[in-house]
């Protein structure tokens, strides 16, 4: 009965699609009918890892234009910062890139320290480097698991999250939180690594390269993985620089720019490590760069653990850090100092700084304009995810609609950082 109806004229099926039956003669006289399709993707979509909306102009299955619509997670962090003291802002930075909160803390406190001209104790610098590289591994593992999951290789996800769990457990022992750490302080870090944590970390670092080999067996020769990543979302080195890309998306195109090498901070100049560079600038090269970076991070952590000196991890300077807890109750000066810190906070000198840090996603920069008061006059966050999405349209054009998930995943975008 239904079949009869379809033949007799236009009708819709149970999915609401309309059939336009045309005879062979009609098709020949008019030629094939073409129509551009406007497709909305997001803001609720499992592969956007947050709330991103993309409007796709499609010609068949080809992407003609992709327009990202941002701002679904905009919380006004920059405006909020103007009303908070320098120490209070550390907790806001946790909520930017919430899978790599350590690096956000680090990028922010480094900017304030540059403004204040602070020198960090040596052990503090080592602990900072170790934790930042642990966070890089955790961030890249998160990216690898979700990107593979999006493309269809589900097993990798379980493997990477198993390793990430070990790192999160160490972070939890270190600062009591698993995602929003607020571990870095202006002038150092909150807690020191205990021998027990170092032992756990050493065990992890020793096992980690073999774990990476395990991922390689799942992906390196996986024909589906290769065909879905090789030659997808190509960007030339010239275009990558022109769009302001940083981090693995830039290095995947073969441009040698890593903030840790270009402007060495912490102890990155005291350890041996290489900057992995891609050649073709496709999704596969960016994957390869991140895989190599994890091995390099493990190398950096191992060397740092071997070199780890003794000493404090936080500067003891009135007006910058809180006094020691046990002193407050017995020492009048410390009590006053504690009160002033809590009531007024840090007062950096007048001036402006831009301080870039190599986050797992790219160059995370903080621009702070200080008017000499205890709150920043203006704080601008240069978020890599935001800049990378600016190149989304350029990189998505001409690819199939099934590639959009790959293209989105290849940036390693976190919307909390993008929308701020």
């Amino acid at each position: 009965m239904d079949r009869e109806d379809h033949r007799s004229g236009n009708s819709s099926n149970e999915f609401g699609l309309i059939y336009h039956p045309e005879s062979a003669e009609e098709m020949e006289s008019k030629g094939p009918r073409t129509e551009d399709l406007l497709l909305n993707m997001g803001p609720q979509h499992p592969s956007t890892h947050g709330v991103l909306r993309i409007v796709l102009d499609l010609d068949g299955e080809r992407i003609v234009k992709a327009t990202p619509h941002l701002g679904y997670l905009h919380r006004g962090v920059e405006k909020l910062s103007e009303g908070k003291t320098y120490n209070q802002i550390i907790t806001l930075t946790d909520r930017l890139d919430y899978v790599c909160a350590m690096t956000n803390n680090y990028a922010y406190v480094r900017a304030v320290e540059k403004l204040h001209g602070l020198k960090i104790p040596e052990r503090g610098e080592y602990v900072r480097t170790i934790v930042a590289e642990m966070q890089r591994i955790a961030g890249h593992l998160f990216w690898l698991g979700t990107q593979a999951l999006d493309i269809g290789a589900m097993t990798v996800f379980f493997y990477t999250f198993r390793e990430r769990e070990v790192l999160l457990d160490i972070f939890e022992a270190l600062c009591g939180a698993r995602l929003t750490y607020s571990f870095y302080r202006i002038g150092g870090v909150q807690n020191d690594l205990t021998p027990e944590m170092i032992q756990r970390l050493r065990k992890f670092i020793d096992e980690f390269p073999s774990k990476l080999d395990e991922y390689d067996t799942l992906l390196e020769n996986n024909r589906i993985w290769l065909s879905r990543t090789k030659g997808i979302a190509l960007i030339s080195a010239e275009d990558a620089v022109n769009f302001g890309l940083t981090g693995p998306p830039l290095r995947g195109s073969g441009v040698n720019y890593d903030v840790r090498k270009a402007e060495p901070y912490a102890v990155y100049d005291k350890v041996q490590w290489d900057v992995p560079l891609g050649k073709n600038g496709d999704t596969y090269d960016r994957y390869w760069v991140r895989m190599r970076e994890m091995r390099e991070s493990a190398k950096i952590i191992r060397q740092c653990l071997n070199q780890l000196p003794d000493g404090p991890v936080l500067v003891d300077q009135p007006g910058v850090t809180y006094p020691k807890r046990d002193k407050i109750m017995v020492d009048m000066e410390s009590l006053i100092h504690h009160f002033k810190m809590a009531y007024e906070g840090i007062k950096p000198p007048k001036g402006e700084v831009y301080c870039a840090t190599e986050a797992p996603k790219g160059e995370l920069g903080f621009y702070i304009m200080s008017d000499g008061s205890n709150k920043p006059y203006r704080l601008k966050i240069r978020a890599p995810s935001y800049v990378h999405l600016g190149a989304f349209d350029h990189m998505a054009r001409g690819y199939m609609i099934s590639d959009i998930v790959t293209i989105f995943g290849t940036y390693d975008v976190v919307m909390g950082e993008c929308d701020r």
Binding site: G71, H74, L245, V353, A356, G390, R420
Partner: protein, 164 residues
Amino acid sequence: MHPFAQRIQTQFPSHFIDAREAFGELTVEIRRESIVEVCLFLKLDTHLQFDHLTDICSVDYPEDEERFEVIYHFYSIPKRQRIRIKARVPEEDCTIESITSLWQGANFLEREVYDMMGIRFNHHPDLRRILLTDDFDGFPLRKDFPTEGKGWRNTFEFIPKMDN
């Protein structure tokens, strides 16, 4: 003076205002009329080669004669050097020329400045709000915009009222 600033000054004597170094960072202040020419010079000059546009942001000084300041951060990957270019924009004619013709990455960054501070970029290909909704009233990063908002949020029926 820093040799880079010297070079910019000799190239654009009438548009150069000031250059200073603080915290190991070079800042050059120029007139807004020549922003595209200066950026083009920064990008193409063989001694400078500022090929990477890092960031564009803006600051509001309500007391000043020229209220806004647009700040550009550039990085030279071959020279491993950073520079900060500043241009003042008055409130009554709140516009500056867009540099999207030189760096495509400027597209989103300029849209954000427009969204947050209300500075219009001439010849920008797609100057719309980016983080806020299209019908948002005002520019939140201006100093006269209250942090708690202008009460628009209270008109949303789906948000429960906390104060009564």
